[in-house]
């Protein structure tokens, strides 16, 4: 009798344990960012955005515990594929959040098509092609792309600053092309001329010859570099006595560069730029997010304010969590309900409301910004103007926009 009782208890305990397990079977989330190479610092801040969101969610999505598996990449498409293969095929994750860099995003779009079982929510990569050409049904992007990040800047420098001719130096890869296209689109339309373009390999160290090659007879120089490349350029630009007006690409005036040690970054004060956020925007939601970021990490382990990379990952993670909550953590039927939710959700992000278009690409706000020195001597970006509802075709008819061609070295021409 006693034995039977014990067995019943044991069996029921096992049973209840297994049902609890079935309900709370942890959700596996793969996190991908550039934690190696030139963009390490960018990747680390992306990771902070992700961690902040996970902290706010108390490490739960749709009532299920979240098990995070990190995949490190180095901004090359090969490294992204290596990382995602491990996450999907070996660790069997349900969702991937990432990647960070442009060409990685294109690689993951193609991978997503071969692996319909996983949902990829883009971290913050911004190449246009990723969602514009042959998009994957299970790839979602809640950040606007590089071209959208350039909206408003061209008109601003042409009309307000009065800069009519521009030469450019930018990195030679998909994101920098896309980001430059966004600027050139508005600038050329306003009547500006882009006289010379120099494209430098990602990870360049010595810009002395590039700087010497910049023409003297232009009103301003567009610099579309990021991370270490940007710091190296600015340092050497000052040493060469350069004093032309600069226009910054979106990751040129980001926290990653603005918080560099040393005085190279001071060449950026007053530089106009544009991107999906403005560090000192006075919107209460934005300020709340900045405060949460500052509270979550020690001052020496973070930037003064979150970079656009942190914001991108933060938004992507919250989008995933909101939809997991909506479907109660149910990913059955090939994640159908979850994906439907992602496609239709209106995300109330700190940097403005974001919705997705038919290609699962974000439509959101864009900010024209300027670099200012703050009272404590740190640099930050202040908002000049804000453009709402920027879509991937930059407000143009889609057929017209496709005619411009995909972002590359010579798109858009106006010399």
């Amino acid at each position: 009798m006693k034995k039977l009782l014990m067995t019943t208890v044991a069996v029921s305990a096992m049973f209840s344990a297994s049902t609890a397990w079935a309900d709370n079977h942890p959700l596996k989330v793969g996190f991908m960012a550039t934690l190696e190479g030139t963009y390490t610092i960018l990747g680390e801040d992306g990771q902070r955005g992700f961690k902040l969101a996970m902290k706010e969610l108390e490490n739960k999505m749709g009532g299920r515990d979240v098990e995070v598996i990190v995949g490190a990449t180095d901004a090359s498409p090969e490294s992204a594929l290596r990382a995602v293969r491990k996450l999907v095929e070996q660790d069997k994750v349900d969702i991937v959040i990432g990647p960070l860099s442009g060409s990685e995003g294109i690689a993951l779009r193609d991978y997503a098509k071969e692996h319909p079982e996983v949902t990829i929510i883009n971290g913050v990569s911004g190449a246009q092609e990723t969602t514009f050409v042959d998009p994957a049904p299970n790839f979602f992007r809640f950040n606007t792309d590089g071209a959208q990040w350039g909206v408003g800047l061209g008109e601003y420098v042409y009309n307000e600053k009065g800069w009519k001719t521009v030469a450019s130096v930018a990195e030679d890869y998909s994101f920098a092309y896309t980001n430059f296209l966004g600027f050139a689109h508005g600038f050329c339309k306003a009547g500006g001329k882009i006289t010379e373009r120099q494209w430098v390999p990602l990870g360049s160290k010595d810009f002395a010859s590039i700087i010497a090659n910049l023409p003297d007879d232009v009103d301003a120089i567009y610099v579309g570099l990021g991370g270490g490349d940007a710091v190296n350029f600015l340092n050497q630009y000052q040493q060469a006595g350069g004093d032309a007006s600069l226009i910054g690409g979106s990751i040129m005036v980001d926290g990653t560069v603005l918080s560099a040690k040393g005085n190279a970054k001071n060449a950026l004060i007053g530089t106009p730029s544009s991107g999906p956020q403005a560090d000192t925007w006075d919107d209460p939601d934005w300020q709340k997010y900045v405060k949460a970021y500052q509270d979550a990490f020690e001052p020496d382990q973070r930037f003064p304010t979150p970079s656009l990379l942190a914001t991108g990952y933060y938004n992507a993670t919250h989008a995933a969590a909101q939809c997991m909550d909506k479907v109660n953590g149910d990913l059955s039927d090939g994640q159908k309900a979850f994906r439907e939710c992602l496609s239709t959700i209106e995300l109330d992000a700190p940097n403005g409301t974001i919705v997705l278009d038919d290609n699962r690409q974000a439509i959101g706000s864009n900010f024209v910004i300027e670099v200012v020195e703050q009272d404590d001597g740190t640099l930050a970006t202040k908002m000049v103007s804000k453009v709402d509802n920027v879509n991937q075709t930059l407000g143009e008819d889609e057929a017209e926009f496709r005619k411009l061609g995909l972002p590359s070295r010579d798109i858009i021409e106006c010399d």
């Binding site: 990870g203 340092n235 040493q239």
Partner: protein
Amino acid sequence: MSKFWERHPFWSLIIVLVIAVFIWAIFAPWPSGITDMFGRKKVFLNALFSGVTLGALYFLAASGFTLIFGLMQNVNLAHGSLYLLGGYVGYQISIATADASGNVVNYTFWWLLAFVGAFLACAIFGMFLQYAVFRRMEGDDLKQTLVTIGISIVAADLMLWYWGGDFYTIATPQWLAGPTQLPLATAVKSSGDVVFLKYPSVRLLILVAAIVIGVLMWLALNRTRVGMLVRAGVDDRDMLSASGVRIQRIFILVFAFGAGLAGIAGVVGGTFQSLAPGEDTSILLSSLVVVIVGGMGSIPGAALGALIIGLAEQFGSVYLPTYAPVLTFVIMAGVLAFRPQGLITSGR
């Protein structure tokens, strides 16, 4: 040199011609036909100077590497870590007395002290490595190489832990901050005024310093007793130690010196580029390419290799931007294919 002339009259002629064209291009004003073909003279001169100064940085980094290899047959893959460590130590010294707003009284002194401090810090670390680690696995090349990879990974993580992932640039003293006007004409304006080349002062100083260090090293190796011992050690280690020389001391000395040079290179790199995690492997790669092109274990080889790679990178970035990233490796592949021992061979 005269031997080379006798053996390869054709190649000697080509080299002399190329040098002559370069000298002409530097000093003569360019006719418009050439400007149409190659762009402005200012760009050419800048690429030339930048190539040489970049070569100076590579030389500082690679000469220590090649010296250690030449004597101890130790491929020190932790050399990049010494570079980065030197840069960080130099940065710390340069801001050691900074007030809250980052101003340093008498900054030039602290900047120069940064070079000394970086040299000493890296030299001590190098001595420790040689004494505590490599001495125990002498003659076992593979083991040593693997251990140096391990050390470089651990050192990279320790430095990331302490200094974080930010970019560091070491400020130049005020009197070196801007450009200097050089007596080289780049163009003649329609009014008849001659436009002279302006070039960053700090890079000129670094170039001069690298040449001085190179010459001193050559003198030390060829004109002093210690240098003689080092050269003898490169030729035949066993015979030298059999003749009663305490070779371990020479090893430690050379390792310390080579590591110290890497530290100085780190401060130089921090001054005109930037310091961040990942710089260690990229400078190691450059050093490897330089010594493979120049010839493993040879100081003049390191100088020649550094010059070639520096010039190739700078000219490539201006005149062949699309192919710039592969140019250095094309040169390396070419050298390996036709002269695998490097352009200048060391020892016997």
